[in-house]
Symmetry: C2
Subunit: 337 residues, 2 copies
């Protein structure tokens, strides 16, 4: 069946309203819900799954309440090269806070960041990253951190493309999020990134509300300051939402198993395994970065977003794999931001 | 204005459908959304708040997405005397598992539980409680624990009333939950009780889906067992969702500040403070157990559900206080379960 003839089955009020607004009575709308996806096996697999679980009376029908879809963020919904955007944020914060920390000029990893040698700054491995994160993400209230992130997202630009980071998102995935929601899915972000680094902008950019964001976190402490309660961000890791942590967090926060999961790296493997292991119809998808020209091409050897074990398992188990170069007509939204 | 003349402003599709189904065209339904609440200041405060935040165009109007209401569970939605139901569950599990643990006959706090001396079992304080919880709540998969809780809830009966625990819920609060949801609120449980002790039954009993339950938890570990991924419950505390923990967890999971919060004890004080401190209209309510005849009467001196500091603060700040004896026509649902 040609994909242009696939009919949307709108479930949400918004979709119904839109349908009534545009379709002459009695004529089904042939609008393509995924216009940035090239017709082919990948797009067909997505649409076929959604049709299957939303067809009332079918043995594969899934009630709306159970239509949970979880999405990784870095490399799945937005670009993660040359380094995670949250690392760029941390570097910028080190520069912004340097005047208050003269000791950073002689102390790694801060000294390297201030000299612009990011590679050397990260040479200290996990310990360096934790030091950078704690120095830039902790020690203020949650409200204060919210504003810092919001302001950075409104002004910082990607080093290669010059776009705002919010314009480094994948247009085909924005369409996929909206398509799933129009079909009654609840879309969650389940990211290794910081939950409070994502929440200030993720509703505006992805249409995902704050209560549907799961991520890594540092501990917070409830305090009264001048008679006003605040939550203070502490320099202590609370939870790392990566690898085995993803199904743990999904169970903790959602309490239901997703029926569809979307990732791009080995950090998403356990989330896909957990999703696939439930009963009934399941959908697992990996975004494979194959487009060095329009985005980046990387997989098994990449220090960022390594895709190795999960790629093997996707092939072995017949999970859907997006070949970015082949499957996506466009990568980023038109507006450069 | 007599409360029976207060009109519901239904926002959800379900409420609109119900309204259309029962109301003759052009005639507003005068149905009382809170029939188990006696007319008076308490009921009026609840209805006035809901009317105020749902009136479009009014300066106090709150968009649906921000209508977050958080409810404590023990003592707020269901009875917590003579001891928390989850403690009764733990005692029953000790008895059920005793045959596999002959060593428990000589080891406290288990020996006292097996002899039926619950007071002595709890004499060991927090350490005894943790030992009882870990021995009965850990060491199995999340799926296995789900089934154990589900079966216990279907059969165990309250020691005083002989009712199923799911029939020890407060009818007026069930009506309040439904009333808020009919007015576009998202209702959350934020309980010191175990999150996986609540989820197996809370949707059926309160109409709250699993992803809107926040509670205390033990750690879980992702494992492959016979090629199937499982989450194993570990004998290690993950998070205690009580007192200062409540606003911390609300921020972590919901990422928005509630505009209404409902509790009954000092364990809820920080959640109420956090809710009250936001901008715009706010509603804080305490259930005061004043009805020794129909339920229990307790507050400042009670070892379970102590209400002392929070009662003072409620009086000082003008929060709404339910006087159970005076404000509620009935306590428990008619069906004894």
């Amino acid at each position: 069946m040609p994909l242009t003839r696939v009919k949307l089955r709108p479930h949400s009020r918004a979709a119904i309203a839109a349908f009534i607004a545009v379709a002459p009575l009695g004529v089904a709308s042939p609008a393509d819900p995924l216009p940035s996806w090239k017709d082919g096996a990948t797009k067909f697999a997505v649409v076929a799954f959604v049709e299957r679980v939303t067809k009332e009376g079918s043995p594969d029908f899934v009630p709306t309440a159970e239509r949970i879809a979880t999405f990784d963020n870095d490399g799945t919904l937005w670009a993660e090269q040359p380094v995670y955007s949250q690392a760029m944020f941390a570097f910028d914060r080190v520069r912004a806070l340097a005047a208050q920390h003269p000791e950073w000029n002689d102390k790694e990893p801060f000294a390297s960041v201030l000299r612009g040698d990011l590679q050397k700054a990260l040479a200290g491995g996990e310990r360096a990253v934790v030091e950078l994160v704690m120095a830039t993400h902790a020690g203020m209230t949650t409200d204060e951190f919210h504003d810092v992130v919001r302001d950075w997202m409104a002004t910082a630009r990607h080093p290669k493309t010059g776009r705002l980071y919010s314009a480094m998102v994948y247009q085909p995935m924005l369409e996929l999020l909206a398509y799933l929601r129009a079909n009654g899915f609840k879309t969650y972000i389940v990211s290794g990134g910081g939950i409070e680094f994502m929440r200030p902008w993720i509703q505006r950019v992805y249409g995902v509300p704050p209560e549907q964001v799961i991520g890594s976190s540092i501990k917070t402490r409830f305090e009264q300051r001048d008679g006003k309660p605040v939550l203070v961000r502490l320099a202590e890791v609370n939870f790392i939402d990566d690898k085995e942590g993803k199904p743990v967090a999904i169970n903790q926060v959602i309490g239901r198993r997703p029926i569809a999961a979307f990732g791009n790296s080995d950090g998403d493997l356990q989330m896909l395994q957990w999703t696939a292991a439930g009963p009934g119809p399941r959908f697992c998808l990996l975004v494979h970065h194959t487009d060095a020209e329009r985005e980046w091409a990387y997989d098994r050897q990449s220090p960022v977003g390594r895709l190795d074990r999960a790629l093997d398992e996707a092939h072995a188990r017949g999970w859907t794999i997006v070949d970015m170069k082949r499957d996506w007509k466009v990568i980023f939204p038109d507006a450069k931001g």
